[in-house]
Amino acid sequence: MWPNKFDYQRAESVDQALELIGDEGKFLAGGHSLLPVMKLRLSAPEQLVDIGRIDSLRGISANGGLTIGATATHAEIAASGDVQSMCGALADACGGVGDQAVRNFGTIGGNIAHADPASDPPTVLVACGASINIQGADGSRSVDAEAFFVDLFETDLDDGELITSVSLPNCSDCQCAYVKFPHPASRYAIVGVAVCLKMDGGTCAQADVAVGGATVKAVKCAGAEAALAGSTLDDAALNAAAEAVKADIADWLAGDVAYPESYRQQMAGVYLKRAVKAAAG
């Protein structure tokens, strides 16, 4: 509860933020991932650069696809009509992050930069083909969400780089869903499954699936996708996809003493079925 001493500066622009951030600095947005670890003295950055009031990082815009500013809060995303219509799964995921206070302060940029494996939004971003827009001293770049999440608390971000926004394709002609088995204490996902289905009549033309919580990072699940694609989402296809998803995540499993890897892996199968039913229903 008593963080180490640190310097605090507020940036007025992205360029200024990139100038201010030093080798030992951290960007501060909503602070709901960073400040708790600082209070526990698990992290002790010497400098915080507050990006919370930079206008260009705010807001959600829709033109063809979705562009969500890095400092858009979970609550804003959950309540956004554009997000609900273009990617309902993301609205659902953001609406289930933490509690209301966390959602009012916590930001999508901060969330994905922290890359907690049990967090909800990354799983949807990976399933729905989002890209992460990044700015650094050397300019801007964009990375697919799948490539952005590298490992446990590890992303493709380099030191000094800042997430500016997240882009998502328009999924309004898809049926997507995110369902999770929340940890009874933390409400983080023991397993979270995002699916995005393109239906052609009663047949699934294309399926995108990602799993988080059970894994060290959000994992795209090609085997489950293949099992669902071309099917009518009947029990046989669901059972096959549930088996396949366990194999898809086998190399990335995470667990703890209360909810071990083996259990989470099995639950990924159960929750895949539930996610597909939620999306198709």
């Binding site: 509860m1 009874p184 099995q266």
Partner: protein, 781 residues
């Protein structure tokens, strides 16, 4: 016709200040020049301290001092263990305020730093360099008691602090050797974190001119804290003032006197400046006492026709690294004596082994020994039912003690005060629709849905208790309470009590008792508690004792005042005392209802003393010491209905029925609140709460991210019922209700889950029954 305030569910008078954040807790109290104490705590569960270097810390800007055990020397005596149980070979190893040469659990204090602000104190604590030599660790109490286990203390052989025996082993063996049926199980009562909403805090101020120490602290029993702080500091007890301001819950965890409270006192005396310490939640989980931690080997004997014959158990009770204040009494006196429960069972035997382990000390946690007893009984009863193929409700019905009104002696030597267990049982069975449920269960199973029902019939002893019994069982204190009812000249009441409520709503309940006795409006009655200088002596709020014991003292003090008022009123109205009738705060002359003196009139005239009857002293104030002649024994039956999702192991609690009998209810809303809270805590033990240590003694459930506290959305609306059986020995017939929920609910839900899983043949799951464990049990069955 007057409206009785007794029995009225008025709103809790303490709630406005609590829910608007206006209440003043220890940490809210600001003193000029206060120093902040941080404690350097051991990161190892068992280690020798090779060296401590606090020079860098002491040299930091804003740091006033850093001290180790060596600096304290004999300035502080070790913290006492205050429950010296008989019939055991109890050893009480030294518990220094800061570790001397060796640490025994993660969080054991090794040094303190005092600084001008809290941040600097924490920086300085981090800067103290301690070199440790790690030692082998043992956390499991059964393992710790075996030959060859790591030894915590040289003078506690095999870490066994005591072996307490209850009952006649030979007689018990005779019953078990000849019984038709014996069932047995190993039951693990996992460690639990009390998690009071307010963490512990302590602030001390010493006045060298008067040599008086004032200690504000989170205490359930400030008079006991004064007693112990006086003993450890060497100050005379009349020079120590302990104030428990608003206290945000305790559940037992604020009964003990901890090193931290002794350390702020010592440092305040040493430095002549006020010193404050407030724990973080992480510290709370690491160093504030834990509850339960039993490994029980339990057996029950029965006849084939369902007659229960006896129960016996060997209990390994984890004490942690030191013996906390009341620790030895919890798995012994407060546990074994409950082995008969509500049943006509004649044979009991208990061997309870208190074992030192490299873990946080344990002590009383809501229910304290009684939940652990009720659980093992109810678990065994269900196992007997299964073995003899009898419905578990029918088996309980067959063995319940029949109704009694004034004393029923059971094999544990307790004399239950009053009870009608069958009435409460049948009421709960009726609310649940037990027979219908069995049909519904069968239909659901046919559809692949797994419903289960669990029943607990219980009685417990609370309202602790007769002081003579306290002495006989080694409790190093009395268990009476005292109270003063003081009426001001304008007819407003100050009720001063020695007990120290901390969230129970006692300011409301106790005011209702006084209002009922004397006719003062409840809003005119203030209940004052928590300050050893302002209040009369009392032994504290725990063991569901404040309403039964303090309430009795207040009722008796009020009755004395009422008699004084009657005599004075008669005198003022020039009537004979026997012609005075009392009705709702008025003393009337029989036959002339317009001729009366109100209680307020009488109070004023008693203060003015212009016209007193001969021999009557002025003033309007009475005190009463009350030592209960027996415990009180609330009882009831709880029923839970659950559904298990076999795909995930997730458990949905569909219904929860609680029929409790705590005698006449003074405030039914507060009774319901106590039951709700207790039930939630007890169900949490069954389903989600549980401390996990790794093999090196590190606490893996050290935050609320990992330790699962119950949440409102886990629970259905509770269905409460009641029966009313007054205690025959109590002035107003009431029994305690603070712990019944935790005592009854854990086995209720546990048995319901196992009932749901019976198609899979699952015989047992260690608590907490998390989805992962339930799912694994289904897979393995």
């Amino acid at each position: 016709m007057s409206t009785r305030i007794f029995g009225s569910g008025i709103k809790r008078r303490e709630d406005p200040r609590l829910i608007t954040g206006e209440a003043r807790y220890t940490d809210d109290i600001k003193l000029p020049g206060v120093l902040h104490m941080a404690v350097v705590r051991s990161p190892y569960a068992h280690a020798n301290i090779v060296s401590i270097d606090s020079s860098a810390a002491a040299a930091m800007d804003g740091v006033v001092a850093a001290y180790t055990s060596e600096d304290i020397g004999d300035g502080l005596a070790g913290l006492p263990t205050a429950w010296l149980i008989p019939d055991s070979d109890l050893k009480t190893p030294e518990h220094p305020a800061l570790a001397k040469g060796k640490v025994r659990y993660v969080g054991d204090g090794v040094a303190i730093v005092l600084a001008e602000d809290r941040y600097t104190a924490q920086d300085a604590a981090d800067a103290v360099e301690v070199e440790y030599e790690e030692l082998p660790v043992v956390v499991d109490p059964e393992a710790a008691a075996q030959d060859g286990a790591p030894q915590l203390f040289d003078d506690v052989e095999n870490n066994i602090a005591f072996t307490w025996v209850m009952g006649d082993k030979t007689a018990s063996d005779g019953v078990f050797n000849t019984a038709d049926v014996v069932v047995r199980d190993k039951i693990v009562q996992q460690r639990l974190l009390p998690t009071a909403m307010e963490p512990r805090s302590a602030m001390a101020q010493y006045n060298p001119a008067t040599q008086e120490l004032t200690l504000w602290c989170t205490s359930q029993n400030p008079h006991i804290h004064r007693f112990i702080i006086s003993a450890v500091t060497g100050l005379n007890e009349n020079k120590v003032r302990v104030i428990a301001p608003e206290v945000g819950g305790g559940f037992g965890s604020k009964i003990p006197c901890y090193p931290d409270e002794a350390l702020v006192s010592w440092a305040a005396i040493k430095l002549g400046q006020p010193v404050k310490w407030t724990e973080t939640r992480s510290e709370n989980y690491q160093i504030t006492i834990h509850g339960r931690d039993h490994i029980q080997y339990v057996e029950m004997a029965a006849n084939r026709d369902g007659k229960l014959l006896g129960v016996r158990a060997t209990v390994y009770a984890g004490m942690g690294g030191y013996l906390s204040t009341a620790a030895p009494g919890i798995p012994t006196i407060l546990h074994g004596l409950l082995y008969v429960g509500p049943y006509t069972m004649d044979s009991v035997y208990c061997e309870s082994i208190g074992v030192m382990t490299n873990a946080t000390p344990t002590d009383a946690y809501r229910g304290a020994g009684r939940p652990e007893a009720t659980f093992l009984l109810e678990r065994m009863v269900d196992m007997v039912a299964k073995r003899i193929d009898m419905d578990p409700a029918e088996l309980r019905r067959k063995n319940l003690i029949p109704a009694f009104e004034d004393g029923y002696e059971v094999a544990t030597t307790l004399i239950y005060d009053s009870g009608d267990y069958p009435a409460a049982f049948e009421k709960a069975i009726g609310i649940a629709g037990y027979d219908d449920f069995r049909r519904e269960q069968a239909e659901a199973r046919a559809e692949g849905r797994y419903l289960g029902i669990g029943i607990t019939a219980y009685t417990e002893m609370c309202g602790l208790g007769p002081s003579q019994v306290a002495g006989a069982v080694g409790f190093q204190g009395g268990l009476w309470e005292s109270a003063t009812v003081r009426v001001t000249p304008t007819g407003k009441v100050q009720a001063l009590i020695g007990a120290s409520p901390h969230g129970q709503g006692s300011e409301t309940t106790l005011a209702q008792i006084i209002g009922d006795e004397l006719g003062f409006p409840v809003d005119d009655i203030e209940v004052i508690h928590g300050d050893t200088t302002e209040t009369p002596m009392g032994w504290g709020t725990y063991g569901s004792r404040t309403t039964p014991v303090t309430g009795a003292a207040l009722a008796e003090a009020s009755r004395k005042l009422k008699e004084k008022a009657r005599v004075l009123a008669a005198h003022l109205m020039e009537a004979a005392v026997e012609d005075i009738e009392y009705d709702d705060g008025k003393f009337l002359v029989k036959g002339s209802p317009d001729n009366f003196q109100s209680i307020q009139d009488v109070a004023l005239m008693a203060h003015l003393a212009w016209n007193m009857p001969e021999g009557m002293d002025p003033g309007f104030e009475e005190s009463q010491f009350y030592d209960p002649p027996n415990f009180v024994y609330p009882f009831g039956t709880h029923i839970a209905i659950v559904e298990v999702d076999a795909n995930t192991g997730d458990i949905e609690l569909k219904r929860y029925i609680a029929v409790d009998d705590c005698g006449p209810q003074i405030n039914p809303e507060i009774v319901a609140g106590q039951i709700h809270g207790g039930v939630v805590q007890g169900i949490a033990q069954a389903l989600c709460e549980g401390v996990i240590y790794d093999d090196s003694g590190q606490l893996l459930t050290g935050t609320m991210m990992d330790y699962t506290m119950p949440r409102a959305d886990m629970f259905p609306n509770f269905e409460l019922g009641e029966t009313v059986t007054p205690s025959p020995h109590h002035p107003i017939g009431v029994k305690g209700v603070g712990e019944t929920g935790t005592i009854a609910s854990t086995p209720t839900v546990y048995n319901a889950v196992l009932d749901a899983l019976s198609p899979f043949g699952v015989e047992g799951i260690d608590m907490p029954m998390t989805p992962a464990k339930v799912w694994q049990a289904i897979q393995s069955a």
